[in-house]
Amino acid sequence: MVCTLGLIAWLSDDVWAAVVGALVEVILGWWALTLYFSRRSDLNAVVEKIDELIEGLAADSAKYWLRDNSSISIEDRTQLEARIKTTVPHILSWGSLIRLNYATIPNELRLSLQDLQVACTGGDFESVGRKADTRRYIRIVNLCHEVERDLHALKPAVWRLFWRHRRVANLR
């Protein structure tokens, strides 16, 4: 009788330990998954912001590089030049937010952004006698696609799940 009771108590201790262990595992797993998907959703929000900037850059580049200076007013030209030359550095600021909080930025993406800035603001950019440059515009569009493709391939790094430098609230 005593032995049976002891066996039941021992078993029930074991069962409880197993139940508690399983529960803790489930809760931790659920927490980690929620954290991962929340971080992934934040990363997607930043990527969407960058997508908007890239689309704007492609549109501005079309207005700028497909026409000679003589066919754009000075005011419009200055606006386009200011917007074009500040967009890629602005994208890089978002990129450093991604690097600090979500994912490693691959070197190819850095180089594509550098190429994009050179293509958008090189050559006769800001020059008085600038002529339309279709080849340059096509290069810009290709680089925009490359940057977008590399951006959408980013995934949150696991080691970034539990550490972030800055809160990025209000992005979604």
Binding site: K85, P89, L92, Q117, V118, S127, G129
Partner: protein, 111 residues
């Protein structure tokens, strides 16, 4: 050692390549500040920060022009010139400036 802050010593809105594009163009920066500093100092530090933005045309004329117009060797510039950028967006400009210096050197070597 000489330090040149583009924002403080030249303009916080550098613009264009040639003087016909405006007074704060790449050619004027190179001819008035950068080349004389490199000729008379052992080491020159150029600070890129605090400017509203650079066009690559400005950077090409200012830094690439050191090689293809003012006849500095790339190896000499690697020793004498230090381009400093603190903010992430200026680090792109620093990389582009060095890229233009190296491309100009490669073009000269190939010619």
């Amino acid at each position: 050692m000489k330090t040149i802050s583009i924002a403080k010593d030249f303009s916080d809105v550098p613009w264009g390549r040639y003087p016909s594009d405006g007074p704060y163009c790449g050619q004027n920066f190179r001819e008035r500040l950068l080349t004389p500093a490199l000729r008379s100092n052992e080491k020159v530090v150029v600070l890129l920060d605090d400017v509203e933005g650079y066009g690559s045309s400005f950077l090409e004329e200012a830094f690439g022009g050191l090689v293809h117009k003012d006849s500095f060797a790339t190896s000499e510039l690697e020793k004498k010139l230090m381009i400093v950028a603190h903010g992430p967006k200026y680090q792109l400009d620093r990389d582009i400036a060095w890229r233009y210096i190296k491309e100009a050197g490669d073009r000269l070597a190939a010619a």
